[in-house]
Symmetry: C2
Subunit: 210 residues, 2 copies
DNA sequence: CAATTCATGTATTGATCACTACGGTGACTG
DNA sequence: CAGTCACCGTAGTGATCAATACATGAATTG
């Protein structure tokens, strides 16, 4: 009823504990999957009690969604942007090669959100976890920005003739990256540069044909 | 000690119940992952009690390993063999296209072993589930037979010059298939024939280069 | 110095987990 | 027809699950 001052949040601790929990949960989910992530494991690895976990996160589902969000934000901030400098005069293949080879090198570091997200995509449970929907939405955004990047290389004729092309190419990039990440789970000997060659070749072929 | 007659197994029922359990477990594991597969869910979906589950399978770990084995055996028996008829005079690309386009068409049917196997590969738990090891071993076998198929197209000069090539190509085929299967979980609109074109192109490029 | 808020500590809830003990029953064997 | 085996039904075991209740103390406010 009366005006309650929100009371300035405690300076540091809050975020520190929150992130401790997120990090612990990320590791556990990455190792054991969605159902394999238990609050008890999270409390043990984070050193914080269950009451703190539920203080910061509504329930387990929300916790894992926040794990994916946090891990993604961490990762994306270290990534090359899919934005083309207008003065950049290099041909598409060269620009693609540059951006991909940087991007691909971060995959062996295996960001948790990617691993967890892929697990969630493979599952098809009756009730969708919040994290799964968030991951799919994020994926769509990334696809969109990659598509925009491709479009910037097309002349107006090509854009009119094949309006779907940029999105198709973006999807190719994403699916190929999935495949590479996946291959890395089995055998991390594969050479990222070979991979970049392959993707560039596919893209060139897709543009040339059709 | 004394000679015990093994007593002829009951004719039909045994295998019927066993398969009922395997099928139910396959669906559940495919929906909910390894930890999400509970004996209680299996009993509900199969209609058989927990005591029967444990009659046929040592424990949950063994059950899931048998699920992967059974699902794989079902799938492989309907697959085109990676064996080349010696009278087959078609060029590599054509043969590859033929075998792949048949193989790829079976993926949307989403064999459970593939989905479950991919989930298991993504996880990196402390103790390896039996099913994960079995899936990896099976994968290696398949890679080997695909590599042998490629080798049958190489002349002795090429074999000596690039001994790794056949295995590399086989791995490309497998990883690409992973990527396609994965893409299918998100959006099943992708055209299998486009995919075959891409794989054939990658393989041709890999042979030509290097 | 109270009063309030935030975060943690401790203890516990009812549900569900993997797994088992054990009796019953039908089908087959000698 | 008595005995054996294969499988099922019922009813549990203790452990662990997600989630909560509630008391405590430290920091921040008036």
């Amino acid at each position: 009823m009366s005006a309650v001052k929100p009371a300035a949040p405690r300076p540091a601790d809050r975020e520190v504990s929150r992130v401790r929990i997120l990090r612990a949960a990320a590791e556990i989910a990455s190792e054991n999957g969605y159902e394999g992530t238990t609050i008890s494991k999270v409390t043990k690895r984070s050193g914080l009690p269950a009451s703190s976990v539920y203080w910061f996160f509504r329930d387990k589902d929300h916790l894992i969604a926040e794990v994916v969000r946090h891990s993604f934000e961490q990762w994306i901030s270290s990534q090359p942007r899919w934005e083309r400098d207008p003065r950049d005069e290099r041909p598409l293949a060269e620009g693609l090669r540059a951006i991909l080879s940087r991007s691909v090198r971060s995959l062996p570091g295996a960001p948790d959100f990617l691993r967890i997200g892929q697990m969630l995509l493979l599952e098809s449970r009756e009730v969708e976890p919040e994290a799964r929907q968030y991951f799919l939405a994020t994926r769509d955004e990334v696809t969109g920005s990659i598509a925009a990047w491709f479009t910037s290389y097309f002349d107006t004729g090509l854009r009119a003739r094949r309006p779907e092309l940029a999105m198709d190419l973006a999807r190719i990039v994403l699916v190929s990256t999935d495949g590479l990440f996946f291959a890395h789970q089995i055998d991390d000997a594969s050479d990222p540069d070979d991979f970049v060659d392959v993707v560039v070749a596919i893209v060139e072929q897709a543009i040339a044909s059709g």
